[in-house]
C-alpha cells in the first residue's frame, strides 16, 4: 500500500505541475493590462479626492459660490480664504477671490460638506507636483475656474438667436386653397 501511495503522490504532483502550466498559459493569452502612464491615463474613480475646486455651473458657466464663507469657517486647517463682492444687477454676492493653501489641506472634505450651494467639489487632479511650494500655498481657484470656463465655452453650442417678437396677428391662411378640389 505504501508503494501505491508513493506512486499516487508522484502522479498527483506531476498533474498539479501541469495544472499550473495550464493556468499561466491561459494568462499569457489574455490582454495586457499595463497602462502606459504618461501616454495613457486612468479615469479617476468617483470618490477620488483631489484638491477642491469651484463647481462650474453647466448652465451659466459661472461659479455658484456666494462668498458666504461657511467653508472658510468649516476648515480645520484654516487653509481657505474667500472674498466676494456684489456685482451690479445681481441679487447675491459672487466670489471674487478664493485662495486655497493646499500645503496644509488634509482633504477632510468639511468645506465640501459645509457648502450650502454645492459650489465646491473635489477635483480629479492627481498630478500635483511642482518645483517649489509657491505653486500650492496660494492656489487661486477663481483663476482656475476661468481656465475651465474657456474650455466649457468652446464646447457650448452657439447661443440661439433671441426669439423674434410675436407678430400681432397671425395671418390667416386662405381657406379654399387647403381644400382639395373635387373635379366631379
Amino acid at each position: 500500500m505504501k508503494m501505491k501511495a508513493a506512486f499516487q503522490e508522484v502522479y498527483g504532483g506531476f498533474m498539479s505541475l501541469l495544472t499550473g502550466m495550464r493556468i499561466t498559459l491561459g494568462q499569457a493569452f489574455k490582454p495586457v493590462i499595463t497602462v502606459q502612464y504618461p501616454r495613457q491615463t486612468l479615469k479617476m474613480p468617483a470618490r477620488f479626492r483631489g484638491h477642491i475646486q469651484l463647481v462650474l455651473d453647466p448652465k451659466t458657466g459661472k461659479s455658484r459660490c456666494t462668498a458666504c464663507k461657511l467653508c472658510e469657517r468649516a476648515c480645520p486647517s484654516d487653509c481657505i480664504a474667500v472674498d466676494g463682492a456684489k456685482l451690479e444687477g445681481q441679487k447675491r454676492k459672487s466670489v471674487t477671490d478664493y485662495q486655497l493653501d493646499f500645503t496644509t489641506c488634509s482633504l477632510c472634505g468639511s468645506c465640501v460638506e459645509a457648502c450650502p450651494f454645492d459650489a465646491i467639489e473635489f477635483s480629479k487632479e492627481y498630478n500635483v507636483v511642482a518645483f517649489s511650494r509657491d505653486a500650492f500655498n496660494h492656489m487661486d481657484l477663481v483663476q482656475r475656474l476661468a481656465a475651465r470656463r474657456e474650455i466649457w465655452a468652446q464646447n457650448q453650442p452657439p447661443a440661439p438667436p433671441p426669439p423674434e417678437p410675436p407678430s400681432p396677428a397671425p395671418v390667416a391662411a386662405p381657406a379654399p386653397a387647403s381644400q382639395p378640389q373635387n373635379p366631379a
Binding site: 499550473g20 502550466m21 499595463t34
Partner: protein
C-alpha cells in the same frame, strides 16, 4: 557542392554559422524570455527600444560592453578569467555534431551523442571554477550547490540516454534522426511498443535538462534571494554577459538534443513537406517550441528548495529511469531469450 566540401571552407562556414546562431539566439532569447515573462504576468515586457522592444538586446549589449571589466583583488586571476571561456566553449563545440537538416551539420561523427554529453558536463566545471576563483562566500556556496545538483541530475539524464541508445543502437545523431522518419508515430517519443514508458523518459530528459542548464525551478546556482548572483557575483560587464549568453546557448543545445533524440530532429511530423528546405525549418520549429516551454516553465514555478531538488532526483527520477532502462532491455531481449529457451 565540391566547393563546400573543401575542408577550410567547411571549418570557416561552421565557425561563422555557429557563432552567429549562438549569438543571435542568446540575444533574442533574452528578449523572448522577458517578453514571455511579461505576457504570463499580463504586462507587455520591454517595449521602448525600437519597434515593440526589438532593439532591447542591442541596448543591453552596448550597456554591458561599456562597463569596466574588473578583476577583484584576492581572486585567482587565471581561473577567474578562464571560467567565462570554459562556460561558453562547450555549447559551441556541441553544436558541431547536431544535425540541423539532412545535410546541414558541421561534422557527422559516429559518437556525436557521447561528445555532447561529455562536453555538457564541462559547463558545471566552469561554474564551479568561476565561483571558486571569486573568493566570495556566496559564489563558493553557489559553486558547491551547482556541483551537487549536477551530480544528482547527470545520473537520470544519462540513464535515459542509455535507454534511448538501446533503442537506436547508434551514437550518430544523424542516423538517430533518420531512424525516426515517416511520420510522428515513428518518433522515439511515441515508440511505446519498444518501451511503454517512452513519454515518461522524455519528461525525465526535459527535467534533467532544466536542472543541467540551471534554469528555474532548479536555478539554485543563482538563487538571487539567497546568494546575490550566485557564481557570477564578482563578474561584471561582458564577463557576466558571457555567462548569461552561455546559459542560453546551453538551453539551445539541450533543446536541440531533446529534438534530435525524441522529436525526430529534422523529420517532418507528417510525410509531406520534408526535404532539404523544410527539414531545418521543422528542426527549428521543434527546438523553439521546446525553448518556449523552458521559458514557460520558468515563469510558472517558484524555485524549489535544495533538499526538494535532490529528493526529486534521487528518490523519483533515478528509480524511474532505472526502471525504464530495465523495461526497455526486457522488451527488446526477453522474446529473444524465450525463443532460445523454448
Amino acid at each position: 557542392m565540391t566547393f563546400l566540401s573543401i575542408e577550410p571552407v567547411r571549418i570557416l562556414l561552421y565557425l561563422v554559422g555557429i557563432c552567429a546562431f549562438v549569438g543571435a539566439n542568446a540575444a533574442y532569447l533574452v528578449l523572448a524570455e522577458r517578453k514571455g515573462a511579461g505576457r504570463i504576468q499580463r504586462r507587455p515586457g520591454p517595449n521602448e527600444a525600437g519597434y515593440a522592444g526589438w532593439l532591447q538586446p542591442v541596448a543591453d549589449g552596448i550597456k554591458l560592453l561599456s562597463k569596466q571589466v574588473m578583476i577583484p583583488p584576492g581572486t585567482d586571476r587565471l581561473l577567474f578569467c578562464l571560467a567565462p571561456l570554459m562556460v561558453m566553449a562547450p555549447p559551441l563545440i556541441c553544436l558541431t555534431v547536431i544535425p540541423f537538416g539532412e545535410n546541414l551539420f558541421a561534422r557527422n561523427i559516429n559518437v556525436g551523442l557521447l561528445l555532447v554529453f561529455s562536453l555538457g558536463s564541462i559547463n558545471v566545471m566552469a561554474l564551479m571554477l568561476g565561483g571558486w576563483a571569486s573568493r566570495n562566500k556566496y559564489a563558493v556556496i553557489s559553486a558547491a550547490r551547482v556541483v551537487s545538483q549536477n551530480v544528482a541530475y547527470e545520473i537520470p539524464m544519462l540513464l535515459v540516454v542509455i535507454t534511448l541508445l538501446m533503442v537506436t543502437g547508434t551514437m550518430n545523431l544523424n542516423e538517430i534522426v533518420q531512424q525516426q522518419g515517416g511520420g510522428f508515430w515513428h518518433w522515439n517519443l511515441f515508440k511505446v511498443w519498444v518501451n511503454p514508458l517512452m513519454p515518461v523518459t522524455f519528461v525525465i530528459f526535459f527535467i534533467c535538462m532544466l536542472a543541467e542548464t540551471n534554469r528555474a525551478p532548479f536555478d539554485m546556482a543563482e538563487a538571487e534571494s539567497e546568494l546575490l548572483a550566485g557564481a557570477f557575483t564578482e563578474y561584471g560587464g561582458m564577463g557576466f554577459g558571457v555567462f548569461f549568453m552561455a546559459e542560453y546557448a546551453n538551453i539551445v543545445v539541450g533543446c536541440s538534443m531533446a529534438t534530435v533524440l525524441f522529436l525526430g530532429g529534422w523529420q517532418s511530423p507528417f510525410v509531406i513537406l520534408s526535404g532539404p528546405v523544410f527539414g531545418p525549418l521543422w528542426f527549428l520549429a521543434k527546438m523553439y517550441a521546446l525553448i518556449l516551454t523552458v521559458i514557460w516553465v520558468r515563469w510558472t514555478f517558484p524555485r524549489t528548495q535544495f533538499y526538494g531538488l535532490l529528493n526529486l532526483s534521487w528518490k523519483i527520477l533515478i528509480p524511474i529511469s532505472l526502471f525504464t532502462l530495465l523495461l526497455t532491455g526486457a522488451v527488446m531481449k526477453l522474446p529473444l531469450a524465450l525463443h532460445h529457451l523454448f
